[in-house]
């Protein structure tokens, strides 16, 4: 992220599709018009935005850039199977409650204890979802990133429905906590399973595709500024050729960037057959893919890429 980019004073900076593209570009995130439109509508309509796409196309990054552009906090919830309310929303700090009871006992005040004394806000551990709802009313609401929702199980997804439509949670001992201003919500999914329709209905949806070669070239230059243009162009062309090659795991933009950075740190100014063979593991993550591409095939692709 370039240090020059100052956080915006408030959200009004993102009040048009062009300004979103521009702001994101300032933070080295190249985004096309249809994605910018989806973000814009999400902000304007107050709807969560569900981003799907192959791994490494910049879904998570978008949330970070959005938070930076809005000059607000990013609250991230990483999903996994078995994620439950206690890990996602709130939990009581039981050890502390115990200590408190002992303390009151020691002081001889135990008989005057009411539930309020040990179920007060100071004993509440706030997990990401609650944090996002409790953010203060005057500032810009935070960006809530619910990452890889497809990894959570259906039970958690069902729970999210409630939060995403009303932006409130109920803690039985305290009452209902409602967001003064709803957070901007970004959900991402890698589609290891289909997200339930009920959840999708509450969201705007955007599928992030692999970028065109030109756009990816811009991304490489923005993210790996030290990379010479020649190298960047070759790397992008080679990766694009790989994406057409029917691989088990197609390299994403993240891999392109990693590769460019790796080549740079090896001091390469351009791609050669040997260097490709040596560093292929940065781009391809499956043994069978590497075995298929390394050597002859890589030379052919390289010839096409540098042509």
């Amino acid at each position: 992220m370039s240090p020059a980019a100052e956080p915006a004073a408030n959200g009004s900076a993102l009040d048009s599709i062009e300004s979103i593209q521009g702001r994101f570009r300032d933070r080295d995130y190249v985004c096309d018009r249809s994605l910018a439109t989806a973000v814009f509508l999400g902000l304007k309509l107050g709807r969560p935005l569900l981003l799907e796409g192959e791994a490494g196309v910049g879904k998570t990054e978008l949330a970070k850039v959005l938070a930076a552009s809005l000059g607000t906090r990013l609250i991230r919830l990483q999903c996994y199977e078995g994620l439950d309310v206690n890990a996602a929303v709130y939990e009581w700090n039981y050890p502390r409650q115990m200590l408190e009871i002992r303390l009151l006992e020691a002081r001889g005040e135990a008989d005057r204890v009411t539930a309020h004394d040990i179920f007060g806000p100071e004993f509440l551990i706030r997990r990401p979802l609650l944090q996002a709802l409790e953010a203060d009313a005057d500032g810009e609401p935070p960006v809530l990133l619910i990452d890889e929702i497809d990894r959570a199980d259906e039970e958690f997804e069902a729970y999210l429905l409630e939060i995403l439509s009303d932006f409130q949670v109920t803690v039985p001992e305290i009452g209902t906590i409602k967001a003064a201003r709803p957070p901007r919500v970004i959900l991402t999914s890698n589609r290891t399973r289909e997200v339930h329709d009920a959840l999708k209905r509450r969201c705007l949806y955007h599928w992030i595709d692999y970028p065109t070669a030109q756009k990816e070239f811009e991304i490489v230059l923005a993210r790996v500024p030290a990379a010479p243009e020649q190298l960047a162009r070759e790397v992008v062309a080679f990766v694009h050729r790989l994406r057409d090659a029917d691989l088990t795991k197609v390299p994403g933009i993240a891999e392109t960037l990693d590769w460019a950075a790796a080549l740079l740190s090896l001091g390469s100014r351009e791609l050669t057959g040997e260097i490709v063979d040596e560093t292929l593991g940065v781009v391809l993550k499956y043994e069978e893919d590497i075995r298929r591409i390394r050597g002859e095939t890589a030379r052919t692709y390289l010839a096409e890429a540098t042509a």
Binding site: T37, R102, R193
Partner: protein, 475 residues
Amino acid sequence: MTTPRDPTDPAIVPAPWGPEVDGRRLLAESVGFGRALRAAGLATDLGAAVDFTRALTLIDVGERELVRAAGQAVFVRRRDDREVYDRVFARWWRRRQRKRPVTDGPATAAEDETLQDQESGLASPTGDEGTLGDHSDTIDGIPMPIAADDDDGSEFDGVIAAPTAYSSSELLRHRDFDRMTAAELRDAERLVDLLEPRLELRRTRRYELHHHGRLLAPRTMLRRNLSTGGQFTEWVWRRPTKRPRHIVVLCDISGSMERHSRLLLRFVQALSAASSVKTESFVFGTRLTRVTRLLRDRDRDRALARVADSVNDWAGGTRIGESFRDFNLHWARRTLRTSGVVIVVSDGWDRGDPALVATETARLRRNCHRLVWLNPLAGTPGYEPLAGGMRAALPFVDDFVPAGTVASLERLGEILAGVRSGDTRRGGEAAASADAGERHSAFVAHLIEPPAALGAGSVARASARPLGGGGSQGA
């Protein structure tokens, strides 16, 4: 238009792209567009149309790409729908453009000669045009069943699961398999009834309190013991909850399987209807088609008819290797978690390259918990897996089951249930050797192909074995 415009009308809203706009007309247009999308198979609802209306007041509606992107964000909910969306959008936009310059109201002559034939797959020339044309000025006039009618979907056969079904160039061969005798139906259902309570369970990462659990439940325990001031008077235990494993069925519907595929699809259908199990279904012949959503229809006959409509290689040749490859590359990550059970229903007659079948079956095996192969031919006495594809795939199959009749299909129940009758080790053993196989799969693949190299003896040596009475002459 008939109604005079009242400047104080709350429905008249300012828009960024023009002086003022009648919100009702925008809404009517959005709803009409939503209906057209719905007719084409997208799962949209009225809420999305309302969102689209709001979106239209925020963007420049003169710019095609913006409107397209906005509608996409609102209406499209899965990647595969984008193609359909773009086609419907193109049609809608053209019609809108034509209407605009003439009058400020939508043209009433909604009959659209030029568009009649060009989207053969997007049926329903009726619904959307009526809405766009006639009801543009009054919300009351908009027919309401838009929001929830899953049951009159006869217009959009096959569109949801298989965008490829659009291509009119390919001849759709409609097999008359959707009419099934009552007896066959009963058989298929009986099978699932037998199966369901015995499906193999998988431990989830969720826990339930249980007094026979082996893990402490500290959270609950602390909570319950708060009343005693932190003196632990009660121990609370928990254990993982269990769920049936996901099932993915890959059903061969090529010519050689014709006699069996009807019954087997019924079986697959009955399985997907069973609520406790998550089932994904695919059919393949020369290529793979996902039919999960089609089979979910409550009307079973219509569901099968839709499958027939959406699949265009009924009773053609078989390319097992390519179909598996397609599954591995494009569907495995989405539909199959490594904890799932894959059931392949095929006789193994394959026109493609056996080496490819071997490689791809190995890969498939690696991605699932257990690979079951149902072979309708294997029930016949004296059966040997001689078909090229079958022989190539066999080393990687955990359970090889004859499936000629419902009676022998019942064995599948035992297998899916992980039974157990004295041979609990079978699955693990097979898996282990399949893992061993897989490590060399890429190298082994081409060694497998010469037919002479792998006779009956080596099949017997292979990890997978028919369940029936000992040898491969099961049942």
